[in-house]
Symmetry: C2
Amino acid sequence: MQPEIEKPMIIELIEAGDKDTLEEKLENWLPQELAELCRDLNVTDQAFVFNVIDREQAYQTFEELEFGDQVELLNELRYRQVQLILNDMSPDNRTAFLEQLDPDHLNKLLKLLTQKERRVALSLLGYPEDSIGRLMTPDYVAVNQDWTVKQIIDFIRSHGENSETLDVIYIVDEKGYLVDDIRIGDVLLSEDHIPVKDILDGKYVSLLVTDDEEVAIKVFGKSNRVALPVTNAGGLLLGIITVDDILQLAKEEDTEDIQKIGAVEALEEPYMDVSLTQMLRKRAPWLIILFIGEMFTASAMSFFENEIDKAVVLALFIPLIVSSGGNSGSQASTLIIRALALGEITILDWWRIMRREIVTGLYLGLILGFIGFSRVTTWHFFTDIYGPHWLLIALTIGFSVFGVVLWGTIMGSMMPLFLKRMGLDPATSSAPFIATMVDVTGLVIYFSFASTILKGTLL
Amino acid sequence: MQPEIEKPMIIELIEAGDKDTLEEKLENWLPQELAELCRDLNVTDQAFVFNVIDREQAYQTFEELEFGDQVELLNELRYRQVQLILNDMSPDNRTAFLEQLDPDHLNKLLKLLTQKERRVALSLLGYPEDSIGRLMTPDYVAVNQDWTVKQIIDFIRSHGENSETLDVIYIVDEKGYLVDDIRIGDVLLSEDHIPVKDILDGKYVSLLVTDDEEVAIKVFGKSNRVALPVTNAGGLLLGIITVDDILQLAKEEDTEDIQKIGAVEALEEPYMDVSLTQMLRKRAPWLIILFIGEMFTASAMSFFENEIDKAVVLALFIPLIVSSGGNSGSQASTLIIRALALGEITILDWWRIMRREIVTGLYLGLILGFIGFSRVTTWHFFTDIYGPHWLLIALTIGFSVFGVVLWGTIMGSMMPLFLKRMGLDPATSSAPFIATMVDVTGLVIYFSFASTILKGTLL
């Protein structure tokens, strides 16, 4: 990309304070390119850039910045600039910014808005956090169902300027209740005198203002639309949501889920931007919880100290056995977490899932158990580490692996459903979390099989 | 939703073969609702539904179905119906369908296309799999840079029918090279006589036809657009990609990554649709590989059998120590895998990442090592399981946990980068994969500390 190459030269211009040349150079830059540039600058230089770019570039670039940078930059910009940026920003992006501010800061900035924009901002902030209401924009084109095609086109040409999308036009009755939506193509392709009623098909998908953001992601994923209307429970049209906002959101949700599966609290910022303190704050608590959970393995094993003392060979297989339970549990939990997030399954399906996973776990257990059994029998021909009772040891390993894998699979698949049922985030049942849970129980399974099979010989 | 409630009644109508009533009932259903209905029907009933819905509903519903269902259904439908559906489908969806067929089937279906549609299909199939070329659609509106606003609006009204989006109009020169894109709003809001050249801003983002799909996801994520133009290396406009397709794709890519992080091969189908055989095929291989990898722990431990024999107490902490390495490794690898997928970091950043992770690992190791040390010293006051050398044992645990956590963090962060460097998918370095790798080395670290610290006392 051109801007990537020009960056060093731009930075020189900033350092030299050469406003005019800089203005000329940055004239054709896209907001995301300008934001990229700002990320490499300190806040004073960022403000310098905002002094030379035009008004449209300014608010769009501001929208691209991370929250922390936005706050710092606002403190650096002149009063009038801040006012312009806040008023120009699209309502959904502005709401996203404002909702992260502390109340003092928020009130200060709300005062900078025009009365109209302040009303918009306050109404959007009135919806619950993470609700569709916070995401929607009131910038759309809605027309009366009694209009003709010509009336609609004329209306768009005179009033469509600020609309987030013109791909879809919303049709409402005289009280503002949503009647239908229609693609602009269908309007443009009809003759001027035709009443819009005649080209409506009565097919539309709408979202509820109080629904969770995740609902919007799911509905967009299925509906193949670039924008969806948002109504209250009564059907009154309140705003629209466009798919480009949803793409961003879907990525963020997935990032959170992935980080949770890896047993990290959601970072909420790009990896490289997270400070060491924050990084430790996100990672240490989970590691500590898991470590403390895992301490029960030491307690569990102290019950079997006697057995280990008599047959040290049993100790050799401890990591193998417990990890096979952890791995099969990680697989199952990851699959279920994702299927829940995609809406492919719900907690009501738990019994069907349980049956599937029991069958799968039985097969996986048989396969791994057989490999474990074979490993010991094969090694026996090359080393005498297993002594005269090698066959019994092989059987112990085989049965234990079978049991632990089956148990891990069941636990891994049920835990996300259980957490969801408790109102918690299923992704919390991360791979390491399941592994830790299964480790303790895996040891009990192992030593139970060992006691039974090796009684009277090794034990 | 209404259709959800009506479903039992619809199924009765199908069973009764009541075509007329069914036609009336389904008239206003959306494609995704019809597809949902089809999922609950056998293929004969699906075909019955396709006989009563209208042509537009038919191809759109077909597009919503899973690949397996699509193939079965085509075999059941009449020749003419198949032809209509295939010709009506949007080129990008059709290509996605055709590319999964075996060559025989593909050729049979290609013959059903009109000459024009066949040319489109073949040209899209000519681009590498997973490339942007496969995703793009040639249905867009491109106009000459010398036209006026009125010419453009007239052109859209007469030729825009099949365009995937009318939100953005593409401006080309007389040879078809991309000059700029412009939002329909900016066209509509300008006066009729204005040349489009005067309202262009020269700012656009375009994709290369040979780029990987993942590039499209990243660019869309940054660019806040509903559609992006696709060109060849020379700048010739070949097609466009719309964001609704990207949303779908981004979800699929994330699902694949998540499943890999959980050590499952990508399922490629909804969880509930995967057959038992397929499920085992996706899960067993990884479990077997991990199990065999984990067998090295048994080999590693057989070297230390002597030590365990002398100090059985050491065996008690084996699961605790190896799992703390696995957990810290899972955290690091998950963070890096995701940051790579989002384009926040590249392999060129490896040295910065390594430094960050070493520092993080040092702190995490200190915290967990201290907890491990405290656990043994505290327990010592309540039980005599650790004997007279409890302090040395506590030190061994503390140092080992510190070492293993640091090591796990470094391995976990570097492995995804290493895999990427080797041209492999970084997500392959799943949480269980890292855990397995760190388990073997963790044991070596543990017993090395034990030998050093406990020499002359317990060992």
